[in-house]
Structure formats: C-alpha cells, structure tokens
C-alpha cells in the first residue's frame, strides 16, 4: 500500500461519508480528527471499525462546548489514532451506543453518562458508575455550569 | 528446588530490613538530591509571588510583614514537587534533604 495509512483512512472516510463529513484534520503524523453529525456517528464508527480496520476503541470521552457536548470516540488501527467527534445538544443529550459494535466500551459510556449526562441509546445498563451513591440526580460535575463546591467534613473547623 | 538454594543463601546474608529509628540509622538511603522539607531564606525573597503561581496544592499563600510581601508555607499540603525552587528568581526557596517530618498537630507545621 503505497499511500500512508493516514491518507488511506481519510480517503476511505471521505468516500464513505461524502459531504456529511463536516471536518477532517491531520494535525500530526498518526493522528486524524473527524467531525460528523449525530445521525452519521454510528454509521461512521461502524465503517471505521469493520471495514477500515480500526478495531481497538481506546476510549469514549466528552467535552462541554458551551451549548452542546462534544462526544469523542478515539479509535486505533493501522498505527493511526482516529478521533470521531459528534456534537450533542444539551437540550436533548442522546447518541446511539457503540456497545453492540465493540462490547469493550460499556464502562466508557457509563462514565460519560455519569459525568456529562449524555444518554447512550441502547446501552445495556446506564446506572451509576463512578460517582458516590448519594450524588444528586441530574447534576453532572464535568459540565461547565457545575460550580465546584468544596466539601466540608463533619469535624471541619476553619 | 532452586528456591530452597536461595533460602539457604539468604540465611547467611545480612538482613534486608532497616530497623529505623531504633537501629541501622546509617543504612537509610539518602541521596543528595532528595526532595525533603522546604527551607525559606527570607532575606533573599523579593515577594514576586512566582512560587505562589506555580504551587499545585495551595501550600504557598502570600502575606505581608514589615519588610514587604512574602510567601507563607502550609507544609502539611506540600507535594515536594520542587517547582517553587525551580521558578524562584532569587533562590530563596530550597528543598533540604530532611525527610523526618511528622507531628501531632498539623496546624503548627508551617513556615510563617
């Protein structure tokens, strides 16, 4: 394969998604950043995992970008780390799950649900994963609007 | 059973445990670059608060005294990362290699 893996993957994804591919960036060797809309997210991930050989999903994470939450899936294959980003509106934070595609991501999605409140449709069990039991419902610590309140211990006197 | 051979060989060897502080005070490994308790030289400090900006654990707090601005150190929060010593322009902060730091009241463990 004469072309470098980065070019091969970007051409493959451009051909597959066409103009739905909002943005493609190759900031450095062995890194590709793709941005897609929510309804292409599952299709793009499936294509990357099954037909472009990126079988290993390193992690699924999210970032608060003001009015919506960017859900980012990091896949690895052919020596290249690909980041697939989809913006999810905070008003309706829903995105299809990838657990049926790669079962290893169950805990990543539960963590993003716990800390960002993004609901992964079709996830086997989205209950509490990392936060303590008495953490209030609907409060997502990694969102910008959550102001960090310092914990005061029962014996604390300052 | 070659592990048995090891067992026998160890019977004659010196014991590995260091019974500090009762015995073996000399066998403690003390390299000269050890990052221990902070020593602050007030006379060199010019109160530029660079150390305050670089400290990761709120150990350093800027206060005033009759000479001028200076840092106060809450040593029970220190992570011994030595970033304050690296960044101080007048070398007035220095991490000694004194590692025996313990106490019964953490409110007193400060450099005022």
């Amino acid at each position: 394969m004469s072309t470098k893996p980065e070019e091969f993957i970007t051409n493959e994804m451009k051909a597959f998604l066409g103009e739905n591919l909002i943005e493609v960036r190759i900031p450095r060797s062995r890194r590709i950043y793709l941005t897609v809309k929510i309804d292409d997210y599952k299709r793009a991930a499936k294509h990357l995992v099954e037909s472009t050989g990126l079988t290993h999903i390193s992690t699924i994470t999210a970032a608060d970008a003001g009015k919506d939450v960017d859900v980012m899936t990091l896949l690895f294959g052919r020596g290249v780390e690909v980041m697939l980003k989809a913006a999810v509106p905070k008003t309706a934070p829903k995105i299809p799950t990838l657990t049926d595609l790669v079962p290893g991501v169950t805990f990543y999605e539960r963590e993003v649900h716990d800390l960002f409140g993004v609901v992964f449709e079709g996830h086997p069990n989205l209950d509490r994963f990392m936060l303590p039991e008495d953490w209030p419902e609907g409060v997502y610590p990694l969102r910008k609007e959550y102001k960090v309140a310092r914990l005061k211990g029962p014996r604390e006197v300052d | 059973m070659s592990l048995a051979v090891e067992l026998l060989r160890n019977l004659v060897k010196r014991r590995a445990t260091v019974l500090y502080p009762f015995k073996d005070k000399d066998r403690v490994h003390l390299p000269e670059g050890l990052r221990g308790k902070i020593a602050f030289h007030r006379e060199r400090c010019i109160g530029c608060s660079m150390c305050f900006r670089v400290c990761p654990s709120e150990t350093i707090e800027m206060t005033e005294d009759r000479i001028g601005k200076r840092p106060r150190f809450y040593l029970d929060r220190c992570t011994y990362c030595q970033q304050c010593e690296d960044v101080c322009p007048t070398n007035s902060i220095e991490l000694t290699n004194q590692f025996e730091n313990f106490g019964f009241n953490r409110k007193e463990y400060r450099i005022e």
């Binding site: 303590p132 953490w135 309140a149 029962p154 | 308790k37 929060r77 313990f102 019964f104």
Partner: protein, 95 residues
C-alpha cells in the same frame, strides 16, 4: 490476633478521603476498641494535598475522624512512617 479493626490499636490511613469512602472510614473507626489512635500517612491524607478543591475530596482525614499523628510527605519515606509510629508509641507510654 486477627487482621481486623476490632483487634487494632492504631489505624494507619493513607490517600485522600473522598465522599464515597468517608462512611467506610467512619465505620472502621467505630469498630475499633478504645483506646484507639489514628495516624494519617502522607499529605494527601493530612490535607487532601494536591487534590484540594476537588468536588469529591475532603480537606484531610481530621475533618472526618480524630487524628493523633501526622506523617508529612508525598509519599513519605518508609523510615519516616516508622519513626512517626515509634514517636506516637513513646508519647502514649509517656502519658
């Protein structure tokens, strides 16, 4: 003697105290029989050290259970921990 809090005299705690482990620490502390002593090992345990300000961490073990001796260090050298426990022992004997 079994390795459980009920037979212990001194409880050594290390690492930051977070919201979820707080109740477990209090339960273990209550399981210990009087007279009991607590040694907080490391600056994370003394004062949440580098985690000060995290939404899930308390500002030190002494905001949750009474602490008798503090070992400063991040992490403290093993000899330092030994010396602190020995000093606490001497203090207890000394009355």
């Amino acid at each position: 003697m079994k390795g459980s809090p009920r037979h212990a005299d001194v409880l050594l705690v290390t690492g930051p105290v977070n919201k979820q482990i707080k109740d477990r620490i209090i339960r273990i502390y209550e399981q210990m029989a009087e007279p009991k002593f607590v040694v907080s090992v490391g600056n994370c345990c003394n004062s949440a050290g580098v985690y000060r300000g995290a939404y899930n961490v308390y500002n030190g073990l002494d905001t949750v259970i009474p602490v008798d001796a503090y070992v400063y260090g991040c992490p403290p050298k093993p000899e330092n921990i030994l010396q602190a426990v020995a000093a606490l022992q001497a203090k207890i004997k000394g009355g």
